[in-house]
């Protein structure tokens, strides 16, 4: 039985290892990582734009409902100032923009099957201004107006993934925020009613309030 499970795991891993973005899936979760070259002389503008983006709810990424966590990061050179670094380190000729988004697709619909295209189409559709202001600093960027060219550009820049770990598999952002809110409401209910000595009132309050937790 154990042998069969291991064999199934190996087959699954081999299957996941094929194609661009290989290994990027874990259940309904997906990690998209891209690396795009920054046009010469545009790095400062890009860094300034990214640094000035609002955080949290105001971040443009908050408009993408299936994105849990994401980052934009500029790689200006490969670091070599450490003990044991190779004698012939790589000197990059361009600077690069890294973009990584961790998403979980809903159970229904084709969003999960169409990843990463569905995520990239959402980027072009929901935050075209920010997408253009960011990737517009990159070599070969076609703009978000032509969605399919935008998708093709970022798909071409996608990096291979060997292993993707998910702390709470198959839970969408909506699942997580709903569960956290319900947990908080139960905690608040327990605190608010800890001195309630009328069983009927406590039961009625619980039944009324808990209806909204599910």
């Amino acid at each position: 039985m154990k042998l069969l499970a291991t064999a199934a795991g190996v087959l699954s891993a081999l299957k996941l290892g094929k194609g661009p973005g290989a290994g990027s899936r874990n259940g309904r979760s997906y990690v998209f990582t891209s690396l795009t070259p920054i046009r010469a002389g545009r790095e400062d503008d890009l860094v300034a734009y990214l640094g000035n983006l609002p955080m949290g709810r105001e971040s443009p990424l908050a408009r993408l409902p299936y994105v849990h966590l994401a980052r934009w990061l500029v790689i200006d050179h490969l670091k070599t100032e450490w003990s044991g670094a190779p004698r012939d380190p790589t000197r990059l000729r361009s600077r690069y923009l890294l973009f990584t988004a961790n998403v979980t697709a809903p159970e229904k619909g084709s969003y999960g099957k169409d990843l990463p295209g569905s995520l990239l189409r959402e980027l072009a559709g929901e935050i075209p201004g920010d997408a253009d202001a960011i990737w517009g600093n990159c070599v070969g960027y076609p703009g978000s107006a032509s969605v399919e060219e935008f998708v093709a550009y970022l798909t071409k820049s996608q990096l291979d993934t060997l292993l993707f770990y998910v702390g709470y598999p198959n839970s969408t952002v909506e699942d997580v925020t709903r569960a956290l809110a319900a947990q908080d409401r139960l905690l608040r209910f327990a605190r608010r009613h800890q001195d309630e000595d009328d069983p009927a009132r406590l039961q009625q309050a619980y039944l009324e309030e808990s209806a909204a937790w599910l």
């Binding site: 795991g9 996941l16 290994g23 990690v31 795009t36 070259p37 860094v47 990214l50 640094g51 955080m55 949290g56 709810r57 105001e58 971040s59 908050a62 849990h68 966590l69 980052r71 934009w72 990061l73 790689i75 490969l78 670091k79 044991g84 670094a85 190779p86 012939d88 790589t90 361009s94 890294l98 990584t100 961790n102 070599v139 070969g140 820049s157 990096l159 993934t161 060997l162 292993l163 993707f164 770990y165 998910v166 702390g167 709470y168 839970s171 952002v173 997580v176 925020t177 569960a179 956290l180 809110a181 319900a182 947990q183 905690l187 327990a190 605190r191 039961q203 039944l207 808990s210 599910l214």
Partner: protein, 215 residues
């Protein structure tokens, strides 16, 4: 009971909620309680111990099978998402041609806690795994003692210019606890509707006792 969650859990701007002092720092690589780590290290050639991309791929093929079953990685309960990758070629989008003298091993993580706690836990729980994962990289000092390992990671780490979390006030433990509570609400609510008030009080106290470690 611990772990109270702000009502505006999914909407609080990062840094705008009363976090504990250790996460008040407004530096980038952070969004509320979530932290980003991005590390790139050069991979040794195939003729050196644990070197070469084929070795790295073999290690991760096994790791991928192993992570499908409960194991050590599940003990790292402070990781939201983590990704390991191998860059053999930089994507060609029309920029001046790049030639990597060494392939690059890439690690990205989204976690909560401090950098020190994170690396300590990795070094002590996944000692063998870390040696296998990073053993292929130049200069890797082994996970223990942990100080050189931390220095190595820091030396090869990059800072995010923009980091986003959809639920910045939540830790991984809070999330997994909250998700595991969902079935309990439905079950207890169904039960509560069938009980007399006195029976309800007894059942309610029992219910709270059962779930208190998840609150």
């Amino acid at each position: 009971m611990v772990g109270a969650v702000n009502d505006s859990i999914s909407s609080a701007p990062c840094g705008d909620v009363p976090y504990p002092p250790e996460v008040l720092d407004e530096t980038l690589n952070r969004c509320g309680r979530a932290r980003a780590m991005t590390v790139l290290t050069p991979v040794k050639p195939w003729y050196r111990l644990q070197g070469g991309t084929a070795w790295v791929r073999a290690v991760f093929l096994v790791a991928r099978v192993k992570t499908q079953k409960p194991g050590d990685i599940q003990k790292l309960s402070f990781i939201h998402f983590a990704r390991w990758g191998l860059i053999r070629r930089i994507p060609d989008l029309g920029q001046p041609e790049e030639r990597l003298n060494q392939p690059l091993f890439m690690f990205e993580s989204n976690y909560n806690g401090t950098f020190d706690e994170y690396i300590d836990a990795f070094a002590h729980i996944l000692t063998k795994g870390m040696s296998l994962f990073w053993g292929s990289s130049y200069g890797f000092p082994t996970p223990r003692p942990v100080a050189p390992f931390k220095h190595y990671i820091h030396s090869n780490e990059y800072v995010a210019q923009h980091y986003y979390s959809a639920y910045p006030t939540a830790t991984t433990t809070m999330i997994t606890s909250a998700l595991s509570l969902e079935a309990s609400y439905a079950d207890f609510r169904a039960l509560a509707q069938t009980l007399s008030p006195e029976e309800f009080v007894r059942a309610y106290r029992k219910f709270l006792t059962e779930v208190q470690d998840k609150l």
